[in-house]
């Protein structure tokens, strides 16, 4: 195994980590309209990810930065090729981050309601677009000899990719519902669990179809293993949720997220971006990679820093391990009333 193969795996790990973590963040955002009944419950949901969403998002920045450093040609083609979808994601991530931080900073009803709409849409849209994004990568793009994407926006919105978008939306919302059941207490916890069962079943069907399509399209024996594993994890996650084993359910829904990313990366290898125009123009782990010197430096840095990151991010989850309910939200009083900002924090 050469360094660029290791970095292919590491990039997959970073994306899997990103979708594992921000997957439930996006899900929580969608659930603010799907699950929460009033403002107090919306605030409970938002506060389950309050201390951690920003750290989760850095996984994306690291994944993108590592792709830039380890596979410059991959990064260049990918980011210029998906120009408008990435623009939409950027706008959503900007609005979403500001919405979390600013929503409670003014007491006015309209101010808070607007930011809550923003949280919903800016969580839902990236959840869909990331699925379209990765389905297209796995399927291949119209890439010319220079390595540039020459298709249009319409080419990106093919049936397979749209199904991918539906799958990530369902999967992240399911993952978020399980997370909500794990992190809350009271009535909302019961409803989160119930909702998770339905969402999980729908996810299992959609993901099963999408992964089967992927397998038929470009799978091999290893990816078949990942496909089956993912579907089994989803089914077990639903069962665990039904039995009230929220911790197990969350681990399994997370495993399903990792399984989808693994399947796509397995079918991709050794390409990183297949060209549908001419296989010779495909970007591969070898022709898109940086020099061994750069990859060696990167490996040392990642080897030292990543365990540390996992350690202190894990510690953060431990510090904020306590379940929260409407009674823990200052000034909420269990009802959907506006909160005087000056006291709330």
């Amino acid at each position: 195994m050469q360094l660029h193969d290791i970095w292919f795996i590491l990039i997959a790990v970073l994306w899997a980590g990103y979708f594992f973590l921000e997957g439930f963040d996006f899900g929580i955002g969608v659930l603010t309209k799907l699950l929460a009944r009033d403002r107090a419950e919306r605030r409970v949901l938002i506060n389950t990810i309050g201390p951690v969403w920003d750290g989760n998002e850095v996984w994306l920045i690291t994944a993108a930065g590592a792709t830039f450093a380890a596979f410059p040609d991959w990064y260049a083609t990918l980011f210029s090729g998906f120009y408008l979808p990435l623009l939409l994601i950027l706008v959503c991530l900007i609005v979403r981050g500001v919405a979390f931080e600013y929503r409670a900073k003014r007491p006015e009803e309209r101010w808070q309601r607007n930011w809550e709409h923003a949280i919903f849409w800016s969580s839902l849209l990236p959840a869909v677009v990331w699925g379209i994004f990765f389905a297209n990568i796995a399927h291949g793009l119209r890439i010319d000899a220079h390595g540039d994407y020459v298709g249009g926006l319409g080419d990106l919105l093919n049936q397979y990719a749209l199904l991918g978008g539906v799958v990530t939306l369902l999967l992240f919302t399911f993952h978020g519902a399980v997370f909500a059941a794990l992190k809350t207490v009271g009535d909302i916890r019961v409803r989160a669990r119930r909702l998770a069962i339905g969402l999980g079943a729908a996810t299992a069907v959609a993901a099963g179809g999408f992964l089967a399509w992927t397998q038929v399209d470009s799978g091999d024996a290893e990816s078949l293993f990942a496909v089956v594993g993912t579907v089994v994890a989803l089914v077990l996650a639903v069962v665990a949720a039904g039995r009230g084993r929220e911790g197990w359910s969350f681990a399994l829904s997370g495993l399903a997220v990792v399984g989808v990313v693994t399947t796509l990366f397995l079918t991709l290898f050794p390409d990183v971006l297949p060209s549908t125009l001419d296989p010779r123009w495909s970007l591969t782990v070898s022709n898109a990679a940086s020099t061994p010197y750069t990859l060696t430096i990167m490996t040392w840095c990642a080897g030292c820093a990543t365990p540390l990151v996992l350690l202190y991010q894990g510690w953060t989850y431990w510090v904020f391990r306590k379940r929260i309910g409407t009674q823990h939200i200052a000034g909420a009083g269990g009802a959907g009333t506006a909160v005087p900002a000056a006291r709330a924090h």
Partner: protein
């Protein structure tokens, strides 16, 4: 093609707008993180509640600010690939690593520990809580270092070779990328200037409250901290700027000649105070100069030779082939002046403030004030300034609190514009760096979307900032004053339904 719509023109406008905007928040984040950490340290060490109140007040403003810095930063990383894909292909082997390090080391620090700091008041013992804000502060500084090392490589590429087969720049010496003098002096200059930004911000707001005789103990302490920061940072910014100038005279003589609108080399060369000229003909029609000073700034020698724009242009034409190697001269010239002018104006005001509010030094006993009083402003030995004049000082401090920020923006516009037509000096032209596959319509779309979105967010952020500045520091509660002694909180079992100290 119509020049205004050339692909690299639009992509440059987008980069300029999004980067200058992002950088409005960066220096304030760097300095306020450290200032907040310093104040919280004082609280932990002395247990004097005024430091905790100050920590909460400046910390709140820091959080409003960092939120914008974080979200606008993602755009920065994505747009290299989106708008500058040929640049990314060419430099990725070198440029990508510092970016990845920045994310892996600095951003994880910042984002994880800022979350702990925001939500951890009732969950963490105070020393651990304090450690969190220091780690955030270290993260902000590390982040600045990595991105400046990357930018310095664009200013002065080093430790690389061009691969003939792949036509890309490849890293041969990472250590020299991280430690070349361009990187170290740029880092020093940017970091010290960031503290000038934060210091002026604190002075302006503290002055606002003191002029109204509100929150006096906290604002008195803040004022002093702000003034000392402004003076120390201003001095170091000037010194590091002088060093950076000397480095640039050697590495990019065109940039410095443009900064001075020095068309033809002179020995000794004068420093230009004001110039108005004709770029096409290559001369100035109006000039006001200080003889010999430019020679001194460039080479520590009042009579040394400094090459002019026309000389460097000719030299580069011989080296790189026919073409125009001049940047936009008026932007470079005025950007350089506004950088120095706005920055040093704040430094001057800070120096004046430090003298006016001195505590004991050359100050008669009857003018000394206690911690509950607004300090007298004393210009000469034995009389305080007339209240109307004193009021003018506070107004001036408030009105100029964004001056260092303006100076820094112009500094970046100057240094990035001054490098043109190169994106990597002497190696890659900006016009060869854009994404070939991205259409004008797409770039135009994103340019409009970001400009509108950033404009709206500027209004939202600005109003929120003003609201919290005017509201002043919060009243401390019992639980603020008695943080938990165990991780997770002391009263976890006894009081399971107690509301969180902070919630969104």
């Amino acid at each position: 093609m119509d020049l205004a719509l050339a692909p690299d023109t639009l992509a440059r406008w987008q980069f300029g707008i999004t980067t200058v905007y992002h950088f409005l928040f960066v220096p304030l984040t760097i300095s306020l993180a450290a200032i907040t950490a310093g104040l919280e340290t004082a609280w932990v060490r002395t247990e004097n509640p005024k430091y905790l109140t100050a920590t909460k007040f400046w910390g709140k403003l820091f959080l409003i600010n960092i939120a914008m810095g974080v979200v606008t930063g993602i755009v920065q990383e994505f747009q290299f690939g989106m708008n500058w894909s040929d640049y990314s292909r060419f430099v990725g082997d070198i440029f990508g690593a510092p970016l990845a390090f920045e994310a892996l080391i600095a951003f994880f620090f910042e984002s994880t520990f800022v979350g702990l700091w925001i939500f951890g008041w009732d969950k963490l013992p105070k020393k651990i809580h304090l450690a969190c804000i220091w780690i955030v502060s270290i993260g902000t500084v590390l982040s600045a270092y990595f991105i400046l090392a990357a930018n310095s490589w664009m200013q002065h590429p080093t430790g690389f070779r061009i691969d003939k087969r792949t036509h890309r720049a490849e890293l041969t010496d990472f250590w020299s990328v991280l430690t070349q003098n361009t990187a170290l002096t740029q880092f020093a200059h940017t970091l010290t200037a960031s503290f000038l930004v934060g210091g002026a911000f604190v002075v302006g707001i503290a002055g606002y409250h003191l002029a109204r005789k509100k929150h006096i103990p906290v604002m008195r302490t803040s004022l002093r901290l702000g003034l000392v920061t402004v003076v120390a940072a201003g001095l170091l910014t000037a010194l590091s700027g002088d060093q950076l100038g000397k480095v640039m005279f050697k590495q990019q003589p065109m940039k410095m000649a443009a900064a001075e609108a020095l068309w033809n080399g002179e020995s000794p060369a004068p420093f230009s105070v004001f110039a108005y000229g004709d770029v096409a003909k290559g001369h100035n029609s109006v000039e006001l100069e200080i003889p010999g000073l430019l020679s001194f700034l460039a080479n520590d020698d009042f009579s040394s030779h400094v090459p002019g724009i026309n000389d460097v242009n000719k030299a580069e034409q011989q080296k790189f082939g026919p073409g125009d190697y001049r940047p936009n001269i008026p932007v470079a010239y005025w950007g350089f002046r506004w950088m120095i002018g706005f920055g040093m104006a704040s430094f001057g005001l800070g120096l004046l403030g430090l003298w006016l509010t001195r505590k004991k030094f050359l100050l008669p006993a009857h003018l000394r004030t206690g911690p509950e009083e607004v300090p007298h402003l004393v210009l000469f030995r034995s009389t305080a300034l007339h209240p109307r004049l004193a009021r003018w000082y506070w107004i001036a401090a408030l009105a100029t609190m964004t001056f260092p920020m303006i100076a820094m923006s112009w500094g970046w516009i100057f240094t990035e514009n001054g490098r043109q037509p190169w994106v990597v000096y002497g190696v890659l032209r900006t016009s060869d760096a854009v994404s070939p596959g991205v259409s004008t319509a797409e770039v135009l779309t994103s340019l409009i979307v970001f400009t509108l979105l950033y404009g709206i967010l500027a209004v939202v952020e600005g109003k929120l900032m003003v609201k919290y500045v005017k509201a002043g520091p919060p009243e401390l509660t019992e639980s603020d004053l008695h943080p938990p002694t165990r991780i997770g909180g002391d009263r976890a079992e006894a009081d399971a339904d107690r509301p969180m100290a902070f919630s969104y």
